[in-house]
Symmetry: C2
Subunit: 315 residues, 2 copies
């Protein structure tokens, strides 16, 4: 589908970092950066923007912070080859720790929030816009919201200045039919704004739901290399670029960096389709319990996991 | 989606056997049989129906033949708990080697064919129907057919007595939009017949395309435990049953047999989403080259594979 408004945002380092506490070395991040630029991807989300006081650098890697020094270690002295994005969590970044866009290397800040944090997210997003950034709000865990709460959040977002609002399937719980209904609702309630999609792969539907989003008129598309990301992971970038018929996208650099940098991580961390992630997705639950199971020595005891999680869901 | 006409066919042993030459032991097959019956699945496709002269039992396991002795070793002397299906390939089964349905344990024979074999498939299917079997024709590799050839095959099938015709995405090349168009075409050209879907997962779309099929009115749905099957595998049964809202289906027995019998095979054979399978799917090619790559010591050299296969496709 060739539609010039479509933008692809790679979240490999940011969402993949949720699986290894952002312990990617600079060679990894630099090769991903080079590959994404060569592939024609529009944005690289290189991590979270956090205040140094929010986390300990002995425990998490540099991409939990995205300090200007960290960014410069990747970009070097050359001209930047691709727009850079960072995600901001409510409460983990102080306003004074966000540089003016003109003083730093980030182009876009995406504010992640739950529905009850919508007002705080709008405030933070407006602050980022005032500092010159392209800005989005990514409303998470929408699959858990009742219609009244969702309508209220969308009404608040509609009144904001924030131009891009994301539909986020945090738990990988949505079917394509859900995406169609929600995309229509978002576009209806948020006139004049651009809508984005961030899907998770618990039910092997991240790519399919991203296609449904495109068909429904959503234009900002998140993906990651080989689907790396929290739990079941995300929409695989190599599939998305192969689907999009825009000649500016090239798949080969993506395949190459998967071979060099992602497959080695496949030996160390378990993202992708596994029964525990499938179970939390089907039950519309946070993948927390599934991640704990996958990190334990009981990762193959999936019947016990199914029983625990379903009885908790029904009890 | 609760629609009483929907039937689920598990192809674990038949399609999974393409990855290990049907070397599943009787405990495996018996536990799958028990679990599918308990889960409420409608049919178990237990293998291929072949003449003994077509293959060597020293090279392939019993489920390449589905002899009555092989079947009895699973069913025992009890009443059969689930309908059994076998697939028949053109040229690998002699008419005289097919017992009357009343003399054996199979309920359904599914005749697989390429478009140029449609006449032979109809002849074999009619023969099976005359022997009392439920019968389908599974037209393979539809993604490679031009409209004239496909129309001709469908016109021939429309004139046949065979009541169930399958749409088969052998190469995992279809997007949901393709499924919608083809489902409509099949239903239009094959009035009065039931349509089935058999999807492959090269682009992580087997489940999504099966959902699209359901929405488009297709009623016979193929799936396998944990998606086991040739190359990228099939639509995962545990996802399909979780999606279908018919209360007769139970997911827990499926999860349990995956833990006991399928996860151990996961250590030995590589079905599922891997870059070589993705590449042949995107290029609409037979997974043969990808399977050779995956069985070699170069399975992680995916850039070289991409270059070889794409230059062959463009050359």
């Amino acid at each position: 589908m060739f539609r010039p408004e479509i933008k692809v945002i790679d979240c490999t380092v940011r969402d993949g970092g949720l699986m290894n506490k952002w312990q990617f070395d600079n060679t990894f991040v630099r090769q991903v950066y080079d590959a994404l630029a060569e592939a024609g991807v529009d944005y690289m989300e290189i991590g979270y923007l956090s205040s140094e006081s929010a986390f300990d650098r002995n425990e998490v890697g540099p991409w939990r912070f995205c300090g200007e020094k960290d960014l410069k270690a990747i970009i070097g002295d050359e001209e930047k080859k691709i727009k850079l994005s960072a995600m901001a969590d409510i409460g983990r970044i102080e306003h004074q720790d966000i540089p003016m866009r003109s003083d730093g290397s980030l182009d876009m800040i995406r504010v992640a929030c739950y529905a009850h944090q919508t007002d705080k997210a709008i405030e933070l997003a407006h602050h980022c816009m005032n500092k010159g950034y392209e800005t989005t709000i990514n409303l998470m865990a929408v699959s858990t919201l009742g219609p009244r709460v969702l309508e209220e959040a969308l009404a608040d977002l509609a009144k904001s200045e924030v131009p891009i609002i994301y539909l986020v399937d945090s738990f990988g719980a949505f079917y394509s039919e859900d995406i169609e209904v929600l995309a229509k609702m978002y576009m209806d309630r948020l006139p004049g704004k651009t809508i984005g999609i961030h899907a998770h792969n618990n039910q092997q539907l991240a790519f399919a739901n991203t296609i449904s989003s495109i068909i429904s008129g959503i234009n900002y598309l998140d993906a990651t290399l080989y689907g790396i990301g929290r739990g079941a992971g995300n929409c695989p970038l190599e599939l998305l670029l192969s689907f999009l018929k825009n000649p500016k996208f090239k798949v080969r650099p993506v395949i190459e960096v998967i071979e060099k940098q992602i497959l080695p991580w496949r030996e160390k961390i378990d993202w992708g389709y596994f029964i525990p992630y499938m179970v939390t997705g089907v039950l519309n639950q946070h993948p927390r319990a599934a991640m704990t199971c996958m990190e334990s020595d009981k990762k193959n005891e999936v019947t016990e996991f199914f029983d625990q999680v379903s009885s908790a869901a029904n009890g």
